[in-house]
Symmetry: C2
Subunit: 533 residues, 2 copies
């Protein structure tokens, strides 16, 4: 059991390093500044490092995915040049944030050439994602690529023999896959750190966390090393990286974007709160591009866990009725995030939306406790056995949140689960009443009570996990930045330090009811417009 | 604990009897022929008994619900006269099959008058079910009406203070509610028999079972005492009554027709195979009328357990690709049902549909065992505690299926549930592969390996429960009748007795993939047309 886990890690890291071409390596003076205590932003490194051509900078900085697909489909750009640009930029992003796990640039460039030839020959694009490089969280499986999801005990597993259903769908739509992104050990913390690949750093300030579990995606998309990436979310894992890194992050309803066929830290028969897959992006319309492309491909033909709910058109609304949760009494919202919420609320009112400040709502404390009870339903503790299997230690954020008390873990019974289900249904009932009584379209709430924070201090995510518990879709909209000159210290929130988080992205969260991904998408577009994005 | 349960039952029965007007009672010579061993059909009693006028017979026999709503909306018929006709016919049906639990004819007639006045005053119908009498399984709650669901221990519960969400939806659409229908003790057998209301008999032959658990609905709809009724189904409880009584019975996907707010024999936190509500009817277009009316009312605004999946239009197809399961090796299909299947298959081929005989498919035996393991997840055995609470005995069909072995019941663990989930997902995976590999639209399979059979002998329903396990929608289409002159004894199936089941309805079952209720509805219409219904 106790193997030379460090030896395995060294071997794996050497293999990964080989995939990073020499000619794309940053200079020593840049690399010397990079560490998890550094108080620096690295967002401008791609532009300044000299590794990308002017055109590559233009490709990666000037457009969103909708633009790029249009240009590639119109042959104004080739997939080969777009893919090369994003491969290079991802390589740079990785060197300054440690956001990647697997790089397969050659495969990606071959795929791009195929797509260019296809377009030339057939006179039409392969699909709505034609030529577009898309990044994937490490848990997605691709034929021939490893999926260690940060477990040392998974290093010696053979490369995947199958694609996750979502991978097949993206390929069928014309996407180019080129990198997989870094995650936390167990996938169950907001600090994307593990013993295999190390820690993801926040490109806005390296000493801050990039969020998790899709933290590599957050950092990569913030760096524009990808402008459309795929994460997964069971408690906030798409949205927390979006919050920390300042991107959009859309957590769909359960079963709409296929989650199946991934490398998973838990048992196959998992029940309770179900994980979902969804996009991180830079614009609302790129979220829509992804969601429509995927759902219109009928994921239920690919994945037996997907639901057969066709994408439906939503009647156009000019004004929304928005119920606002400003903060819950247990987790007070730090000044930068509260300012984002209040500013957004004001702008939504100014834009003519009907804003209802919700004073009474179900307890975020109880919802968070109940959610963590659901996350703990596997009495086998499978996710932790994978740690023990190699002798590697828990990383700090995992140890902080999941070290068992001296008396050990209380085994959960089937009766406990049924009791938890009953409590969960009460939450569904109470929130439905709020929606119906107020004739609300969506909820506006903080995505978190904090911005990105120093590594290993993020802990519980009550403002995201509420919506996982309810199986409601929810989307992070990046908005404003922490500014120590206006976001002063607040004696109610001693852990908030204006200096440390100065410059960190702020955000708001828009939430719709279960299965209303179309309604949420439309609301995110309206909200983004109203707040000036 | 041990109360005078017989006294409670006598009191309840006397109360119910008061709701049956004297002037609607059948003559003693008819009533003397009615018993659960009688080898007679009672379908013609309403026409022959002299209690219904010629117009009432026309209303209840000549039309389906689509016709009646059209005529009421056009003021060619009033809801008052339609309601009175169905109240009388339901009263007659009850006296010959024991299909009802609660009758509230006066309330119904008041409601009908209100609807007639509304139409007169407003010049438009209340909704797509304007004026239409709809019957409900006893488990649905209506303000002021009891829901004993056949438990003696529930007799002294006060009448319901709330409507089930589906009840509110039906009322909002203009329906008239007038009766609730009989069920089995525990709702978990195919023999609708309980100590409170007694046993439902099959109107095609009283000595045969009417199916269950929505057995009262089956008998009532077969008698045309209702032409549109609502049942519930967790293992076949809409479809088995449809099979036994010769009606259509549509089991929707989970969460599409709201199931919430019923009186339930199980714990609120129930998980695993989820029950659904759905219609029993006399024509495919009445199924569609019900499903579209309900789902277009947005059940998710009424019921926190409902899914927000809008009704979607289905591209019109002229030919379907149909995968046929003729029989499984464990439960061989009795000659009448097998003839219905083979005849239907031939007619579908003749009509140009693409019929694929499936030779390999997942085990119905394993699926049935797994389903019963799911039905047994409540270690509290709540449904059986409600029996014990009054001292009443188990009825025969419950005792036969659920008497514990001498060593008692094995407590299930949370790990057992996760293992069961894993097995369930394998079934989803295997069936998806069959659908995709064969490019199938729907499956055609028997609804049961038998027709209605002598009381208390129906037992396990492998051909219905498979689709509950998968959460696939499934619909029974009534087709042909058992005929001893052609459905000869089969040595492979010793329990099949051509004489006993002679004249019993036969049927086929059409199954679509999860959430594809719209696709199933369209397929049921095409299949019905192809086989000459």
């Amino acid at each position: 059991m106790v193997q030379d886990w460090r030896g395995l890690v060294a071997k794996k890291r050497a293999e990964v390093a080989k995939e990073l071409p020499e000619e794309w390596r940053l200079s020593k003076d840049v690399l010397d500044t990079i560490n998890a205590n550094a108080d620096i932003a690295v967002l401008d490194v791609p532009a300044k490092c000299g590794l990308l051509t002017a055109k590559e900078l233009e490709i990666t900085e000037k457009y969103d995915a909708v633009d790029l697909v249009a240009k590639m489909s119109a042959k104004e750009l080739s997939s080969s040049e777009v893919t090369l640009a994003f491969c290079k930029r991802a390589a740079v992003a990785h060197q300054v944030t440690n956001c990647l796990t697997e790089m397969f640039f050659q495969k990606a460039l071959e795929r791009a050439r195929y797509l260019d030839e296809y377009l030339e020959k057939e006179g039409k694009p392969v699909g709505p994602l034609h030529g577009m490089p898309i990044s994937l969280k490490d848990s997605f499986n691709l034929k021939g690529i490893n999926s260690t999801i940060g477990y040392v005990s998974f290093i010696d597993r053979p490369p995947s023999e199958t694609n996750s259903p979502l991978v097949d769908i993206l390929l069928q739509n014309g996407a180019v896959l080129y990198v997989k992104t870094n995650i936390p050990q167990t996938l169950m913390t907001a600090d994307s750190d593990n013993n295999v690949f190390g820690r993801v750093m926040n490109p806005h300030k390296l000493k801050l966390n990039a969020g998790g579990s899709s933290g590599g995606e957050g950092a990569l998309v913030a760096m524009r090393g990808s402008i459309l990436g795929v994460g997964t979310d069971i408690g906030g894992s798409i949205r927390i990286p979006a919050i920390c890194c300042g991107t959009f992050g859309f957590k769909p309803s359960v079963g709409r974007v296929p989650f199946g066929g991934q490398t998973n830290p838990v048992l196959d028969g998992w029940t309770g709160i179900m994980p979902v897959a969804g996009p991180l992006a830079r614009s609302p319309r790129d979220l829509r591009l992804f969601l429509e492309a995927v759902i219109k491909t009928k994921p239920w033909d690919f994945d037996y866990t997907a639901l057969a709910i066709p994408w439906h058109p939503v009647p156009e609304k000019k004004t929304l009725t928005i119920g606002v949760v400003l903060e819950c009494p247990t987790w007070l919202v730090a000044p930068p995030q509260l300012r984002a919420m209040k500013t957004a609320t004001d702008k939504l009112k100014q834009a003519g939306h009907n804003v209802i400040m919700l004073e009474k709502f179900p307890s975020f404390k109880e919802a968070t406790e109940l959610s963590w009870a659901f996350f703990d339903i596997d009495n086998e503790m499978t996710g932790f056995k994978h740690i023990e299997a190699s002798g590697e230690p828990m990383v700090t954020s995992v140890a902080d949140m999941y070290t068992l008390p001296p008396e050990g873990r209380k085994v959960k019974s089937l009766g406990d689960l049924l009791d938890m289900n009953e409590k969960y249904l009460k939450f569904r009932q109470e929130w439905l009443k709020i929606f119906v009584d107020n004739k609300m379209d969506v909820i506006l709430a903080p995505g978190a009570h904090k911005t990105a924070v120093p590594h290993d201090t993020f802990r519980y995510p009550p403002y995201t996990v509420m919506w996982n518990l309810l199986a409601y879709p929810a989307c992070i909209v990046p908005y404003l930045k922490a500014d120590k000159s206006i976001d002063h210290a607040d004696p109610r929130i001693p852990e908030y330090d204006p200096d440390i988080v100065d410059g960190a992205p702020c955000s708001i969260q828009v939430i719709a009811r279960g299965e209303q991904d179309e309604e949420l998408m439309a609301a995110v577009e309206l909200v983004s417009k109203a707040i000036g994005l």
